[in-house]
Symmetry: C2
Subunit: 344 residues, 2 copies
Amino acid sequence: MKKATDLNHLNEFKLIERIRSRLNTNSPRVKKGIGDDCAIFSTLPNKIQLISTDALIESIHFDLKTISPKQLGGKAMAANISDIAAMGGTPYLAVISLGLPTSTSINFIDKLYLGLQTICNSYRIKLAGGDTVTSPKQLFINICVLGEASKNRVFCREGAKPGDQIFVTGNPGDSAMGLRILMKKNKNLISTNHKNILIKKHLEPTPRIKESRLLAKSKLKVTSMIDVSDGLTQDLGHLCTKDKLGANLYEDKLPISNALNSACMQKIHTSTKWVLQGGEDYELLFTIKPEDVKKLKSLFLKADTVISHIGEITRHPNKITLIKRNGNRVSLKPETGFNHFKRK
Amino acid sequence: MKKATDLNHLNEFKLIERIRSRLNTNSPRVKKGIGDDCAIFSTLPNKIQLISTDALIESIHFDLKTISPKQLGGKAMAANISDIAAMGGTPYLAVISLGLPTSTSINFIDKLYLGLQTICNSYRIKLAGGDTVTSPKQLFINICVLGEASKNRVFCREGAKPGDQIFVTGNPGDSAMGLRILMKKNKNLISTNHKNILIKKHLEPTPRIKESRLLAKSKLKVTSMIDVSDGLTQDLGHLCTKDKLGANLYEDKLPISNALNSACMQKIHTSTKWVLQGGEDYELLFTIKPEDVKKLKSLFLKADTVISHIGEITRHPNKITLIKRNGNRVSLKPETGFNHFKRK
């Protein structure tokens, strides 16, 4: 019985047919989805195109003991469309490459695709095809997402100037603490409710597409933007690199969630570190001109997501400074974040 | 010394910077290449877009003992742009995900990118970005390529009708025999010259972009097209599936190269099998209306690549028949080709 439900007993074409029958790939824009050498689609006039690709590898980016296949599909897609959000774009099409060990069950693949499809449906993204191959050891998922933006309204990493004000959405640090709890490394007492909030932030992140659209549709002078995937300090460093800028961050403005605070036993020093160094937050970190701060805050009054005004850009090359609650200044190292080659 | 040249000693950002400094990503169409969350590009008006993605995994699709890093980069890109050629499109942009074991040397990555860049330069494709992650065991390369075609001139797998004539470019079977020689499984005596031709076909395939352009620019009634990656018979099966068609193939018309013939010790039966079942040929297999056969042949007189008129489409559902030199008819099984889940 086991044999009939794993990949050894399903060839590539039957698998593609199975996937196709479960996905709704046709749309006015996607003339042809899964099943030919390429997918065929059209672009809208007067738009600029965005493309991003991200690979997630078992035992590096995820552990199948702590994430369900549906969550994995959802998170892989969220991580990719977050890159489109980071530039103020709207994702509309994705292609997926799966590297599957032959022992992978059909049930696993169905649930993985359910996760991918659910998030695609939420954001009106068409799954237009991909490739499915054997991977001898680890499972991997590579997604390539296309998005589009108005020609003169794309947000890049470079563009901030001294005096620009720094904002971040949501609660960075929660995801990394969620991972720590999943790995059973957090020994502190914490309520089930808070635990679940943090774990959900890690396993089911929300890409900030809505928030990015709100900014893109506004007339606010957004001068730079990035999504926080490697930790707030490190990603802030990317906004400063090109023009040799620095930044001041204010500890008392950092958005420490109640759940993170409780997981850190209310130790401010520890929770600050989690917010600054976390990783896989998929929150938006951006800068705006000082004169637009009020307008930004009123724009986000209508949104479900909180934004926090956490600091400002300075002229000090590559110097990110944390101004602590007691007024002391601490220099932060931008590189103390996530290094994809050194995680293990 | 060894340590300073492997990935453990280069973080992701330094690696991206190193790759970026070696690639020429800016062009009028690519406003922003490597280095931001997404690449930004524009599309041409009145064109339809094509997208394809392919993953190559060490020990499944290639063996680092038999392919150089430069050849690997070139072949990975060729396999991907061949999918664009198969639909009559012109590739213009690619993004690449690399999964690298930490022991990978910087020299290896430089040569891999040299291979990728060389083929991209030949076909005017811009490498616009990608993702680089650690892979615990196997190296993998995932490429996503974008191409474009005229709105009413895209060739699909479906579309052939009974009576349509079947053509193939080049010499299918050579690549698979090249692999066999590389794996030292061919015990026949064969000249060094022929050996080198076959090995080169396997390691350095030429995607049929030029030939595809020739067809797309012509007014010939091309009714279906595919690139031969899983073996001629199997891929011909894909042209027949949708409309429940069959095909006749003529053994004496199959393009058996001198090199393949010599590797098969002039045994017709054996070389026919290699041509029909090979794999990784990246030749174009297509059908045209019978009235256009003459025009097609004269069109290809100017081309560097030979085309062979190998058979015709029939009404017999999913029945592919080989008419042998002696007039006998043999039924071919379309599924006797390459199954990505069963290669090992």
